[in-house]
């Protein structure tokens, strides 16, 4: 029984009539079965219809691979209807991954030479859509012939097919380069457009072609000028702009030809100025041409005045009511902010306005641009705007905004107090979005601004009292309260309103932080240490603090437990040392952001984390851990109390000498101290993996009969040597020893000047 096959449109109706996905699948599967049968039977009459239906279901996502061979058959047919669908099928179902695609090469070749324009059109279209490299190589001669055909319909298609061929097989450039000169004289817009696209493609692929085509710059200028001044032509104009597609393409080619070439840039200068000033900007078509002009001006060696004009056009775009125009303006200005900084600065107010955009992609660009425009003269005003933005910006921009503000503040802060205020504001507004090193940076900053200690601790205390959830803020506040608790309680600070804070309140706040479930383990650590420090800063008795410390001695968090135990031990056994240990910390120096900047400048896509200055790792405990007490009788092997967990809390840094060429010769040991049988030796090692590093081991030996107890050794180097020894000055070391020996307290401080030469060269 022959079932008449469904018409395409009837099938579409049926599919759309299906109420559920399952129903649709059923209809389609049934029809596909018919189609497959029809293909098997080889029915030539309805083949085109069957393929059309198959292409429809393919668009809905159903498999259609069994139609591939049918495409070939249809293409090979002599009927135009068949060819039309066959070629469409080839473009949709066949691509260079399928071996079958090569089989249409012959058909295409035939169709190209047939001389029937619509057929040639189909063949060229298919070739330029899915033609693989092999096909292109095979068919290049045919396409070349068609370039010189009389019919513009075929020629314009042949030219663009050549573009595709060059993309697939760059060697074919040599075939398609020669005809270009002649083609450029054509008046037909389609041919002209195709030719310019072809020349653009050739120039982008080969510097030789680029040089070759520089000579057509005057001709291009002439064509564009004619286009612009020609006046209104209904056929090619859009909103009063003559053939904007062609204009944009010419401008693009001019950009490529004028780049890095004075002479060409000069030739096109006037024309660009003309287009920039005369193009009608009331509609998108004109703005598209104007935009392309701006891109070209900025990319070639244009006169300074022209560049400023271009930036001003972008500035005008920023005020356009059309969101799309503002978008391209922001994107372009972002690209220009480095090279034409002052010109872009002039539009800063408009850029800042764009922060208020509702569209996130626009406000993001406005943010980036605003941050790029911050400099020392506008920093206060800009920061105000940016901080306002931070409060209301969408969450995905928060992190970038916060980081941007902090970076800019670091670079351009007019005063330390302003800087501290800014960071504080960022931490309170967007605390959870700041980077990890913000805490370190702020503590460093506060530590260095002695005159602002009281101010800082007061403000931080107030902020903390209000909200203990923002971890970075809590950490900094805890650290400050610990360090400068005495200033907090003293109550007098000119900068802000006097506030009477009593000890119990402070302790209660820190305890609250300790107990809060919102506090991270690191935060707890800060709070605990702060409490500990307060034991020396506050006047009252320390029972409350001691209680807290002993409670946390059994805390589940190992880190916290260890500290609590150590602090507890400090109370119980080493109370006399507590004050010294919990002294105010000296300022830690670290590399500023400048050094890192230069290093990262040349790198693309600087990651947020990479831009962070690397704080010097305090490897202090390592030095003291190297104390190798060969102490016979003394059972009290002293662990150096854990120095404050804040970064940079140690007195000693590992000497990091500049890279010395290998091989490192062994450096002799040095005896630095001897008294009544107690001896101190220094030995030096350069680890092979890191020859710039010098590890110094202090070995203390007790040769006497008496015990040595309560041994503490501290080492310090002059500031010069902290991180680097660039001048290779002789290394000096200061050592301080305190211990009990023979029932006497011994305290020795001495300098070591005679370190072996190899240790510091």
């Amino acid at each position: 029984m022959v079932v008449p096959s469904l018409k395409l449109q009837d099938l579409i109706e049926e599919i759309r009539g299906a109420k559920t996905q399952a129903q649709e699948r059923e209809v389609i599967q049934k029809e596909c079965a018919h189609i497959r049968a029809s293909f098997r039977d080889g029915d030539p009459v309805h083949r085109h219809r069957q393929l059309a239906k198959l292409l429809y279901v393919h668009m809905l996502g159903y498999p259609a691979h069994f139609g591939q061979m049918e495409c070939l058959k249809l293409i090979a047919s002599s009927r135009f209807t068949d060819k039309r669908v066959g070629y469409l099928g080839a473009m949709l179902l066949l691509d260079e991954r399928h071996d079958a695609h090569l089989l249409i090469t012959n058909s295409i070749k035939n169709d190209l030479s047939q001389g029937i324009q619509p057929v040639q059109g189909l063949a060229l279209c298919t070739l330029s859509t899915m033609g693989s490299a092999e096909m292109c190589r095979d068919l290049a001669p045919e396409v070349e012939k068609l370039l010189l055909q009389p019919s513009p319909y075929v020629r314009k298609k042949a030219i663009l097919t050549a573009v595709h061929m060059i993309r697939k097989v760059p060697e074919l450039s040599s075939v398609f380069l020669p005809p270009c000169a002649q083609l450029l004289h054509e008046r037909h817009h389609g041919i002209l457009l195709g030719t310019i696209t072809l020349i653009t493609e050739l120039c982008e692929r080969s510097p030789a072609a680029l040089r070759h085509f520089r000579k057509v710059v005057p001709q291009l200028v002439h064509i564009l000028r004619t286009l612009v001044t020609m006046g209104y032509s209904t056929e090619h104009s859009i909103s009063g702009v003559s053939d904007p597609f062609l204009q944009v393409q010419i401008l693009r080619l001019l950009r490529i030809l004028g780049r890095n070439h004075e002479e060409s840039s000069e030739t096109m200068n006037d024309l660009l100025a003309q287009v920039a000033t005369n193009t009608d900007t009331s509609r998108n078509a004109g703005n598209a041409v104007l935009f392309e002009t701006v891109l070209t001006i900025m990319d070639i060696r244009s006169a300074a005045g022209l560049r400023v004009l271009a930036v001003n056009i972008l500035g005008r775009f920023l005020l356009n009511s059309d969101r799309n125009i503002r978008y391209v303006a922001l994107t372009s200005l972002l690209r220009l902010v480095q090279s034409d900084h002052s010109a872009v600065q002039r539009h800063r107010p408009t850029v800042v306005e764009c922060l208020r955009e509702t569209d996130a992609s626009l406000s993001r660009r406005a943010l980036e641009l605003s941050l790029a425009l911050v400099n020392s003269s506008n920093v206060r005003a800009m920061m105000q705007e940016l901080q306002a933005f931070l409060e209301s910006c969408p969450p995905d921009l928060r992190a970038d905004c916060a980081s941007g503000i902090l970076l800019a503040a670091e670079r351009f802060a007019p005063t330390k107090r302003w800087h501290i205020d800014t960071i504080l504001h960022v931490l309170t507004t967007a605390g959870t979005h700041v980077r990890d090193d913000a805490v370190a940076n702020l503590t460093q900053l506060i530590g260095g601004a002695q005159e602002l200690h009281a101010y800082s601790v007061r403000r931080l205390y107030n902020a903390l009292a209000e909200d203990i959830s923002q971890q970075p803020l809590v950490q900094v506040a805890a650290w400050c309260i610990g360090e400068y608790g005495d200033l907090l309680l003293a109550g007098n600070c000119e900068e802000i309103e006097p506030l009477q804070v009593d000890e119990e309140e402070v302790l209660a706040l820190l305890e609250k932080v300790l107990q809060s479930h919102m506090s991270l383990p690191a935060t707890r650590g800060y709070a605990l240490t702060a409490l500990m420090k307060l034991s020396t800063r506050l006047c009252g008795d320390n029972n409350r603090i001691r209680q807290v410390v002993s409670i946390y001695g059994s805390c589940l968090d190992v880190e916290l437990q260890q500290r609590a135990v150590e602090y507890d031990t400090l109370f119980r056994k080493y109370d006399h040392m507590r004050a010294a240990i919990l002294e105010k910390m000296p300022l830690v120096e670290r590399d500023g952001p400048q050094a890192d900047e230069e290093a990262k400048e040349s790198k693309e896509a600087a990651q947020l984390s990479e831009a962070a200055p690397v704080p010097t790792e305090p490897q202090a405990s390592q030095l003291l851990d190297l104390l190798d007490l060969l102490d016979g009788a003394s059972g009290d092997v002293q662990h150096p109390p854990h120095l404050d967990p804040s970064p940079g809390g140690a007195l000693v840094h590992l000497l990091d000498l500049p890279c010395v060429p290998p091989p490192p010769a062994p450096i002799p040991d040095l005896k630095v101290f001897e008294r009544e049988g107690v001896q101190l030796n220094l030995s030096f090692i350069r680890p092979p993996e890191n020859p710039a590093l010098l590890l110094i081991t202090i070995t203390a030996t007790n040769f006497s009969e008496g015990d040595v107890t309560h041994f503490i050794c501290q080492a310090a180097v002059p500031k010069l040597f902290r991180i680097l020894n660039p001048n290779k000055a002789p290394l000096r070391l200061k050592l301080r020893l305190t211990y009990d020996h023979f029932h006497q307290s011994v305290q020795e401080i001495f300098e070591v000047n005679n370190l072996p030469v190899e240790s510091w060269q």
Binding site: L88, K157, A288, V289, H341, E368, A372, Q607
Partner: protein, 195 residues
Amino acid sequence: MPAGCPPHSTTASLPQHGDRGFPFAAAAAAGQAPPRPRPAAAMQFMLLFSRQGKLRLQKWYVPLSDKEKKKITRELVQTVLARKPKMCSFLEWRDLKIVYKRYASLYFCCAIEDQDNELITLEIIHRYVELLDKYFGSVCELDIIFNFEKAYFILDEFLLGGEVQETSKKNVLKAIEQADLLQEPRHEYFNVPVY
């Protein structure tokens, strides 16, 4: 702007501001117009889809497997449909620029390369819609559904290999007309369905 090009402004060169921590700006500033690594078309693909995410036309100018095409289509459709009406027509997606515009119930979505002009792409989309409108007479989504092959034929007379081939509306429509007349069996009115 070329990183190697000497600055034209007379102010002393300032340390790089904008590109710290912001990948886009850095990448954009560092190298525009790098040599094209692959033989890509200016326009990589064009998709038409409805508000429900149903695909109505897909024109690919770069070779991709069916699986990849489906994945891209699915993700892009989702991304575009999630956009709010007041947002701009451009978005950055993977390493491409996407230009989209909604006409009635259909989204027209093009993927272009980094150095291409977004505004002119909007004109391309608009021109295509005008062509469809002229051909079908006040085109609506149903026309494109029931005559999808015609939508492809019209597109193929306007763009070729991802580039604009004809800037005259008249010429494009004339070409379609002539091709329709060639179809067998011949009908009096060219837009009567043949299949």
